[in-house]
């Protein structure tokens, strides 16, 4: 449904987006991750046709967003960053305006509005002016505007920004539900949202895609992915690490901590170790040595670690740039 090819956007000499390409099919929810200023919003603005790309191409449902913007825009529902809305209108007036621009009239318009109002729980504030709404309600009003025509493509820039935990949960489950039939792209910097709602995630840094995969695939890029964490009781820490390091199935073992007489250590699998071999050998070791085994866990990898490793914070970037 969405096809982005080699998208570039230059603001003066600065490249905000530099050669981004990806596709999103119907039934996919794509999470767009990246540090602030990485180019997430700029990319979304180019997909929705708000700003023209410096070079590259975006097609939505087969329509080029620059050459054939109107049919492409008809397919898209868009929730911009900060959820803008006309403050002098009532919620109903605002949704009615959005429905009219989407070509809905009469009964269809009424049905579309009541569907969106139900979906976003706006019944209570329907006749209230947007200006007086709390941030959560205003956000949902703008969200309702984006889904009023039941679009096939939904683009959302930080849809859960500024919401309370319950509202975040609602929006995420809504995104997941709608994602079964639509092509959805949303940006966030909350990593747990990737697990909660996405079928695929892209990490973007300094205008370029640095990772693209399912949440599981991304997690496997984590350093600790596949490592086994062991928690035992009543053994000196030195003994544990020594024994661990003598195993052929590991390449590296480290001590994580020793809270309340327990020892927590982590073993990283050797390059030639088969799947599950490390766990098995650790279990056998614990039995052989009569360690009191509390926990034996294979790490899935952590998104936040992957994120930190492949995107660089501004401070590091600056010091790196200044070094010769």
């Amino acid at each position: 449904m969405i096809k982005v090819e080699n998208l570039v956007k230059a603001f003066g000499a600065k490249l905000a987006v530099n050669g981004v390409s990806f596709t999103v099919e119907r039934g996919e929810v794509l999470g767009f991750l990246g540090p602030n200023g990485a180019g997430k919003s700029t990319t979304m603005r180019m997909i929705t046709g708000f700003i023209p790309p410096t070079s590259g191409r975006v097609t939505v449902g087969g329509f080029d967003i620059i050459e054939n913007p109107i049919p492409a825009k008809r397919l898209i529902g868009y929730l911009p960053e900060n959820a803008p809305a006309y403050t002098d209108m009532t919620v109903l007036g605002f949704l009615s305006f959005a429905a009219e621009l989407r070509g809905l009239r009469g009964d269809e318009k009424k049905r579309a509005i009541s569907r969106a109002v139900d979906m976003c729980f706006l019944e209570a504030v329907l006749h209230q002016s947007v200006e007086t709404l709390s941030k959560g309600y205003r956000h949902r009003t703008c969200f309702a505007q984006a889904v009023i025509h039941d679009p096939e493509v939904l683009i959302m820039d930080e849809p859960t920004d500024g919401l309370d935990p319950n509202q975040k949960y609602e929006i995420r489950s809504l995104i997941r539900q709608m994602g079964e039939k639509k092509a959805i792209v949303f940006s966030t910097h909350i990593l747990e949202e990737v697990d909660a709602a996405c079928s695929r995630a892209i990490i973007i840094d300094r205008g370029q895609i640095v990772a693209n995969g399912t949440p599981q695939e991304l997690r496997q890029r984590s350093e600790i992915a596949g490592a086994v964490t062991l928690r035992v009781q009543g053994v000196p820490a030195g003994t544990v690490t020594q024994k661990l390091q003598s195993l052929p199935t590991q390449r590296k073992s480290t001590l994580i901590g020793q809270p309340d007489g327990e020892v927590i250590a982590r073993a990283f699998p050797a390059a030639n170790a088969r799947n599950g071999e490390l766990e098995a050998s650790l279990y056998e070791l614990a039995v052989r040595e009569h360690w009191k085994l509390i926990e034996l866990r294979t790490e899935e990898g952590r998104l936040d670690e992957v994120f930190r490793r492949i995107t660089q914070p501004d401070t590091k970037r600056a010091s790196k740039d200044s070094s010769p």
């Binding site: 825009k73 002098d88 609602e170």
Partner: protein, 263 residues
């Protein structure tokens, strides 16, 4: 939140309203926006009060002893100088300040539909103010036998001049997200449009400038064009002048908006 399954996607049943439908939807919202805030009522009251004050107290309506609205229309270029930019200053700067421009321009509407829709709505609003001066027409009708054709011409000219000022305000409001800046810029441009052809200014120019230069500068002025309407003459050149001023300003608005988006 619950996602209700609808059997047919709404995007499929939606009829595509075309340019006119979009312009109407955008215009309706804009006009509603004026009346949703006190702006509309304040504007109309001030406009009527000032129009009355200039007509009767300054223009000497009764002292003239003529059944005409000359003294009424005489002051319109000056009255509009401040009032029209006050109406037009929010057109685009408000959209940019609120960020709603991003919503509007990602809807399936073209930028010119948005520009025309917003412009026409504000112009209609000014027309409402103008129509509410009808008691003056009744007054001269009661006092004497006015030339209704001339009065109609005066109103037409006044309406066109308001449109020209408004298009200029529309253009300056696209330049900035600050309404005050937009207002001031617009007043300055409109003041130029008045002064360029005002006799005291042209008489001063005549002293040293060549006649063609005086004519060239004066050609930008709304004054001579409005004057002929005020005298009850509808000249196609005057019509063309106002309409091309409006077209040019709206076209420039489009260029400005596009250049913002291009970054």
């Amino acid at each position: 939140m619950s996602a209700q399954a609808s059997p047919v996607p709404l995007s499929a049943v939606a009829t595509h309203p075309g340019a006119f439908g979009n312009i109407v939807a955008i215009g309706k919202r804009e006009l509603g926006g004026y009346f949703a805030s006190p702006v509309a009522y304040i504007f109309i009251v001030i406009f009527l009060l000032l129009a009355g004050f200039f007509t009767f107290n300054v223009g000497g309506f009764f002292e003239r002893g003529e059944a005409t609205l000359e003294s009424f229309f005489l002051w319109h270029p000056w009255l509009y100088l401040f009032l029209v930019p006050a109406v037009g200053m929010r057109l685009w700067s408000e959209e940019r300040r609120l960020g709603t421009i991003e919503l509007l321009l990602t809807m399936p509407v073209t930028p010119w539909q948005a520009i025309v829709g917003k412009f026409v709505a504000s112009w209609l609003f000014l027309a409402i103010g103008l129509v509410l001066t009808f008691p003056l027409v009744l007054t001269v009708g009661y006092l004497g036998h006015p030339d209704l054709g001339a009065i109609f011409c005066g109103y037409l000219g006044s309406f066109l001049m308001a449109g020209a000022y408004l298009a200029v305000s529309c253009m300056t409001s696209a330049l900035t997200r600050n309404q005050v800046v937009s207002f001031i810029l617009s007043v300055v441009v409109c003041l130029f449009l008045i002064l360029a052809g005002w006799p005291p200014v042209t008489n001063m120019l005549v002293q040293w400038a060549r006649p063609w230069l005086v004519d060239f500068v004066a050609a930008f002025s709304v004054m001579p064009h409005f004057d002929s309407f005020r005298r009850g003459v509808v000249d196609s050149r005057d019509l063309v002048f106002f309409l091309s001023l409006i077209t040019f300003s709206l076209f420039t608005t489009g260029v400005i908006i596009r250049s913002h988006r291009a970054g």
